[in-house]
Amino acid sequence: MPFIPHTEAETRSMLDAIGVDQIATLFEEIPTSLCANAPQQPEQGLSEMEISQLMRSRANADDGVTCFAGGGAYQHHIPAAVWELTTRGEFYSAYTPYQAEASQGTLQLLYEYQSMMSSLMGMDLSNASLYDGASALAEAVLMAVRANRKSKSKRILIPKTVHPNYRKVVHTLVRHQGIELVELEYDAKNGTINPDSLKISDEDPGYAALVIPLPSYFGTLEDVHTLTDWAHSHGMLVIGSVNPIAMASLTPPGEWGKEGADIACGEGQPLGIPLASGGPYFGFLCCRKALVRQLPGRLIGRTRDLDDKEGFTLTLQAREQHIRRSKATSNICTNQGLMVTAATIFMSLMGTTGLEQMASGSYSNSHKLVERLSTIDGVALAFSSPYFHEAVITLSTPVAELLQILATQKIVGGIDLSNDYPELGNALLVCATELRSDDEIEQFATALEQILC
């Protein structure tokens, strides 16, 4: 009986105390008609030794891969201290800090997180996490619709330069509330929002918000200042969906245009979270102070105790489902706390300079990569505008097969765009973070050369 401490004698004495003679009696209220079809072959559990052997061989099978894919998930350096601390039992095995006095560790850390994330985004405040970057964008959209009382519109402008999966997730999550996503085309030359698509006719009933990605899914840089001012002048709120490492160097949402974006959200994974096949990651969501009551998710406030000593507690809980139930700002309950723990320690250990270096290193490695790949016959850069740390290249052969061949060499060659953007032809989204060495880039290029010729 793994993990069950009861000795036979204890079980017996507990049953005696209850006044029943066997455990089965405790289940007597379950109608016998429901008593489970016993499993076909009752399976014995594995010991830790056995499961270790199994999972070690599985992990080893997946190991040793060199990654040139980004597209929303990035392999960055993570200081060892981050996860050595994050997996300490007191963080790892604690519950949501509803009992504030017994959770000051988690609560203070989350308050620190909120502060750091606000600063990184140039925003007033941050919540304590959502599930991931995609659902954070959905929550931002719902929030914008609630918050934009003037516009009354339930329509949202969302450019095609936003991650395709994000657009799908937002659709799944907001459609039942009657919210409509209107997509903006991109400029085929620049790979950024096509300015022509911004003309709004007078009959147009308007939009609650405009979503602006930075960098875009293509790695390019939207003209965030112009877009923000344009949206504001049309009564829309502005939602920035941004990469947090990029924000160490690029203009953060709070500095966009004349007034800054209203909401900033994105995927927190680049901040110390491993790739891990896509999760757990965490979504961040920041906003202006005025919107705080529309914010979904947990918020930690600093306050004082009976002795007037500083302390931290969950606050504005009336926004949340456990208080407001069907009128809550969101249904979210369990969030991604431990990932935020890691991200907070990560940001502390890297510091501003460390994050800037990471941004700079990813920028220059990606440029190295693209320049090297561009020397190969049949490879071309798809867009002419500047890009941050990933870029679209087009190839002379179908991408899917090429990626399969690279996979046999344990190289993840990038992300195939041909399904989501068939108009781009054989398009591949490639990325090289600060982790990729010159040797690895050369190895990738050589492999590509061999395949293409």
Partner: protein, 486 residues
């Protein structure tokens, strides 16, 4: 002290430098940050020391008994952590070719199968990131089903008044109105009312069984029949699955779709609030609508190849819930736990979580505490109401909760479910030993005694923690959410 108070302008943790700082030459100046971000500028030792010290201010399963009802705070096996943190798992890009991830995908596929078996259902999607997202998925699937039948008039979801807040909130996110169903004094759904409200407008009902009152819904078969006859579907909130694992299955009870909180029943860590995972499992009727991606298998030359099922293979799916495929790292932990238990171990989970709850309930009752539903068996949890203590001694459930912290026990869940006044929802879980339960009873008795002799001490508790009782009103009124904006 806050980490920012350790910060010193110009300090760099140079061991963590990754690249020389160079200008981003091709980036237009207007796109560059004007003011540098303000992150702490600390040494690595300062960071390690600060966060190590902070961690010590937490209660956690690894340090304290945590009988938090509805949350299933049981031992999180360390083996599951170590094994899911291997580099082969951690360094896999989610968009990498499936052939580069057969290790993780095999495990996820196996987990899908295990969850089907455990719940008596047809198919699993692992993608929901938590219970609430699982609820959203399940209700959206119900909606998709009705829509597919052309049955678009159904506008209501029924939810018992004792339900968790996420249930109504999720139903609303799916565009439904929520109708609350009262609970009778035995803790069962009030069947009379239910009969009256079920009708052609009913899309479905969301139930937990055992309910959040800690008792098994005995009329579940009748409820299922009632709903199904009216064309509605049944959603099972799997948060309380711990009590019935291997004993009875939601699929057999008549439920159409269920989510599972693996961070409860399958013992993945709560991490101070998350992440968890909320796989949805559906019967034949609802399986086509499960969220994508799911893991599929193809046999090729005698070996199984696992791959992602997306829109192409699952055209009726409600769609995607996250950018990739949910909280894979959490699911791996759940898988490891499930494999360590086997089906025999799962039944033991139910046996001993229910034994512990009934024992603890009985001992508290013997000591004179009032049970919310005294005449019934507890499941994995039960409710004590401190109504009379509140009235006679002037100490509230909150006071008891805070004082328990001083005694080294995390507090039970307080004031939930909302319909029981001054309640403590107590869930000991199967991984606690008898001595710990006995110590908890002693603490409860001692606090009641203190409440008679020295009620101030109880009302001002906790006295021994890093902070005394915190001012929540001030926190909400003088919002201070960002150190840089004080």
């Amino acid at each position: 002290m806050l980490i920012f108070e350790h910060s010193q302008s110009g300090r760099i943790n140079s061991a963590q430098r990754t690249a020389a700082l160079q200008p981003l030459q091709e980036i237009p100046k207007a796109m560059l940050r004007k003011q540098r971000a303000q992150l702490p500028e600390i040494s690595e030792l300062q960071g390690v020391r600060h966060y190590t010290q902070l961690s010590q201010k937490n209660f956690s399963i690894d340090t304290h008994f945590y009988p938090l009802g509805s949350c299933t705070m049981k031992y999180n096996p360390r083996g599951a952590n170590t094994l899911s943190m291997q580099s082969g798992f951690l360094n896999r890009h989610p968009a990498a070719d499936a052939e580069l991830g057969q290790g993780v995908m095999t495990s996820l596929y196996d987990l899908q199968e295990i969850l089907c078996e455990v719940t008596g259902m047809e198919a699993t999607s692992l993608t929901p990131a938590a219970g609430a997202q699982g609820e959203f998925a399940g209700v959206a699937m119900i909606r998709a089903y009705h829509d597919a039948q052309g049955d678009t008039a159904r506008s209501e979801i029924l939810v018992p008044d004792a339900a968790h807040g996420t249930n109504p909130a999720s139903a609303v996110m799916c565009g439904y109105k929520v109708k609350e169903i009262p609970t009778n004094s035995d803790g069962d759904v009030d069947l009379e009312t239910l009969r009256q409200v079920v009708g052609p407008q009913t899309a479905g009902i969301m139930l937990t069984n055992p309910s959040t009152l800690g008792v098994f819904e005995r009329e579940i078969e009748e409820i299922a029949a009632l709903l199904h006859q009216a064309g509605g579907l049944l959603y099972y909130d799997g948060a309380n699955l711990n009590a019935i694992l291997g004993k009875t299955r939601p699929g057999d009870m008549g439920f159409d779709v269920i989510h599972i909180n693996v961070h409860k029943t399958f013992s993945t860590p709560h991490g101070g609030g998350g992440p968890g995972a909320g796989p949805v499992v559906a019967n034949k009727r609802l399986a086509p609508y499960l969220p994508i991606p799911m893991v599929g298998v193809k046999e090729h030359e005698g070996t199984s190849h696992y791959h992602w099922l997306t829109e192409a293979e699952r055209p009726e799916s409600i769609g995607r819930l996250s950018a990739w495929s949910g909280n894979v790292g959490v699911l791996l932990r759940a898988y490891i736990y499930a494999k360590m238990l086997g089906t025999t171990g799962m039944e033991r989970v139910a046996d001993y979580s229910v034994l512990n709850a009934n024992y603890l309930m009985k001992q508290l009752q013997k000591k004179g505490f009032t049970l919310a539903i005294p005449e019934r068996r507890a499941t994995h949890e039960f409710i004590v109401t401190l109504k009379s203590e509140a009235k006679e001694l002037g100490v509230s459930a909150m006071d008891f909760a805070k004082r328990l912290l001083d005694y080294g026990h995390h507090a039970p869940t307080t004031y939930f479910p909302l319909l029981v006044p001054e309640c403590l929802l107590i869930e000991p879980t199967e991984t606690e030993d008898k001595a710990t339960l006995d110590a908890f009873v002693e603490a409860m008795v001692a606090i009641r005694q203190e409440s008679k002799e020295n009620p101030e001490q109880v009302k001002e508790a906790p006295l021994t923690l890093p902070v005394r009782r915190l001012d929540d009103v001030r926190a909400a009124r003088e919002l201070d959410l960002n150190w840089y904006n004080q």
